[in-house]
Symmetry: C2
Subunit: 480 residues, 2 copies
């Protein structure tokens, strides 16, 4: 449990990640290949992510609902690109209730198809539009190489599915949602993501346009943290989702879908962690403040007073809306506990010993730089919420500084290739899929997105010299 032996991230980032996930009690291996158990500490992080996003979805007019998990395999065949994208990853139920099924049923990898079927029934008139629905659920994609939170066969996510009377309104929705994801990343996860559009080769199977938020991890690789798709009429045509417009003419709806998943936990781990372990953004942290009482082994009465005072501090913090825990475990040294909570990424630690009790103070240690400060005991509850806010700002600034220090611009292919070892590279690109593939073969990098804001993209392709295809430079990076 203690941080002893955690491989430093600089030495082997991948080992650091895997060890940390298990040691910080976020997740555990499962006996079923490719799936994981999300342990209470990891799940509490997910609950905070979920409740925050759910509030943002509802505030922007969306309602939750729930569709069946099993989808007839034939449904996937109705949208040509969709079936190509997803059928290799399907897990299929062939037997149930002791019998072979007449038609095999797939566990949903995503729900566009079954939702299309129902929307065609629910939508009749322009008065039924827009439909702004979302569901929180589990999905399954039979991936070969899996890593906890980043890529597992089963994962938890939300999938929003909306239907609109026209293209413009549907595109607006797709933008609105990717921007909500960016706002969540910045204001809650303290990750300074870039918002952009995917190139054709990286689009969702069946989408006309895909928007995404991309974050930079501390190994200088990119992680796609959320996507929002404009489908045009593709799914409406495949599932016959039509409506009578104001002139009583029959038209196809325009649909969108958008999702984020438990992968966001991977983003939080990799965007903020350090050699000691996790660093959790306070607005999402299951425990924002841990109080560690420091006992005097030979004086049980003094230790009792320290423990009582620690509990009082926690009660005051809890009353001030702070998520706080007192580490009452016996038989563990304060130093061991400090390491343990640092590994678990708790933003603030309050140390309270007999001498602090006498002096009417506590020691406050923040997780990023592990700076210590003394706080007046009487002012703890009033001061801590401000310290948490400051922690959020500092964590975001740290991630932004790291990202900026690992973001480059390249005008020739040689420096493009060299810079790719170090982070993100902004470059002019021709937009041709075969050129993207060549770049990937040479550098293992893919086009992450065409940022909505960013340096203008005119000029010639960094690799092949053909004219630019995009109004802005494309971000290339190695990615998860």
């Amino acid at each position: 449990m203690a941080s002893k032996g955690l491989t430093p991230m600089s030495e082997d980032f991948s080992a650091w990640y895997n060890e940390l996930v298990y040691r910080a009690d976020l997740a555990d291996l499962s006996p079923v290949r490719g799936s994981m158990v999300i342990r209470p500490y990891g799940y509490a992080l997910w609950e905070n992510i979920q409740s925050t996003l759910d509030g943002m979805f509802k505030a922007s007019g969306h309602e939750n609902l729930y569709f069946p998990m099993l989808i007839p395999v034939s449904y996937f065949e109705r949208e040509k690109q969709h079936v190509e994208g997803f059928s290799p990853e399907l897990a299929v139920v062939t037997h149930a209730g002791g019998k072979e099924l007449e038609e095999p049923l797939a566990i949903r990898p995503t729900s566009e198809t079954i939702i299309g079927e129902l929307y065609s029934k629910w939508i009749q008139s322009y008065r039924d539009l827009p439909l702004l629905y979302n569901q929180w659920c589990n999905v399954m994609r039979w991936e070969l190489r899996t890593r906890p939170f980043l890529r597992t066969t089963e994962f938890l996510w939300q999938e929003g599915h909306t239907a609109h009377a026209g293209a413009e309104e549907a595109l607006e929705e797709a933008f609105r949602m990717v921007n909500i994801y960016a706002e969540f990343a910045r204001d809650h996860a303290a990750i300074p993501v870039v918002v952009g559009e995917k190139t054709e080769g990286e689009r969702f199977a069946g989408a006309l346009r895909t928007f995404a938020i991309e974050g930079l991890m501390r190994d200088a690789r990119a992680l796609q943290c959320g996507t929002s798709h404009y489908m045009g009429e593709n799914f409406a045509r495949a599932f016959d989702i039509t409506f009578s417009d104001e002139n009583n003419e029959l038209r196809y709806v325009h649909t969108t879908s958008w999702g984020v998943s438990t992968r966001l936990i991977g983003a939080v781990i990799m965007a903020h962690g350090d050699d000691q372990g996790l660093i959790l953004p306070p607005r999402l942290a299951p425990i924002q403040v841990v109080v560690v009482p420091i006992f005097r082994g030979d004086e049980p009465e003094v230790s009792g007073q320290v423990l009582d005072e620690a509990q009082r501090v926690a009660q005051e913090l809890s009353a001030a809306g702070v998520r706080v825990k007192v580490d009452t475990r016996e038989g563990l040294s304060p130093g061991w506990k400090f390491n343990d909570w640092e590994q678990k990424g708790v933003p603030l630690r309050i140390e309270l010993g007999p001498r602090d009790l006498e002096a009417g103070q506590v020691v406050l240690v923040e997780r990023i730089e592990r700076q210590k400060a003394q706080l007046d005991r009487s002012g703890v509850a009033a001061a801590v919420p401000g310290h948490l806010e400051e922690f959020h700002r500092a964590l975001h600034a740290r991630a932004e500084e790291f990202r900026d220090a690992h973001t480059f611009s390249a005008d020739d292919y040689e420096s493009f290739r060299q810079r790719m070892e170090q982070g993100w590279v902004y470059a002019v690109h021709c937009g041709r899929p075969e050129c993207e593939q060549k770049i990937q073969q040479d550098t293992k990098a893919t086009p992450r997105c065409i940022p909505l804001d960013g340096p203008a993209g005119e000029g010639s392709c960094v690799r092949c010299g053909e004219p630019s295809a995009y109004p802005r430079r494309v971000i290339f990076s190695r990615a998860y």
Copy 2:
């Protein structure tokens, strides 16, 4: 959408139920046999159930986590009774990622087995106990006859799974949770359930003791609304969950599990509804108050004023913590809207027309008796929360009165059989499974539970005359 044509419950309760589920927008049929789509209105009800219970679980020391949905089929075979109970209902994944799996994987019907596997890893010492975990998830049981919310192949639920050092503590936990369910039913769903223990034949597959809450529906049949099981060492032995106690001796843990599901929505529908539709308990209702503005067709200016005032009323109510909606739909008469919201079971309706505007008042109509009252416009926000509380009390009292009027005691088999048409019958029983089966053949009734409180059970069995097996009379009833 309007209530026109809803079959009266007195005429055909089953038709009334099925029609209402669809017309009140709670759920829809799905293209996959036996599963349903939970629509936003039904899902919002589930969210309120979920968040209330989740708060109660956390307040009693439980944490949430998440286990994989797919479980190797072989796991079910480790606990003999468990496999007998569940293997006929399993849905099985045999192919994934385009290949046949080496071992088939079942979609969880319940998670004792995979949880047992992990608990045996997590629990080493008495210091690790108790483990008090819960998960919210979907499960699948391939039932042949399905009905929305009451019995569907896929359903949503929570399953708590706890491990303890001894029998007494585990039994206490099983009691604690069934009592939390009863408290939830009474204080939030306004359903006066009976808490009792199941007879041997009705126990969960693998449990030593099963406790349940039972509610009486308005067709005089019983619905089991939640269960809590004490497993003894059964699963600990099957999955080798042991710990070193204080004396360093290896012992098996004692486990419990407990769950409620989307079936609770069925309970709310059937315990409270009437011929007009749903009647929702205010603490769970997605919409507690609907404001219906009454327009004057020929005076758009007056209608505009009415609408503005309706919005202001809603804002004031919302600020007072009330879940409120203004029905702004055009082209529908007030009477149609009244019927529609009555069918959807909204506890309170506020009607607001031009004359009310002039008189500085609104009309308040409650859903149970549809009694009207006039409220001073300025006092609406202050008065409504009290009316909602009163509504909860009245709804609970109505359900309790109905239950008491349909609860009987029988000392001879002839009156036992006759009373079974009318509701619950308390009777002395010998406890022999073959006698239970005979009663079921004769009357279609099953032993619902041995109530924890209730009339003493000494004497001879109501059917066979053998001596009583239980300290209390058993409740027999036809049931869902």
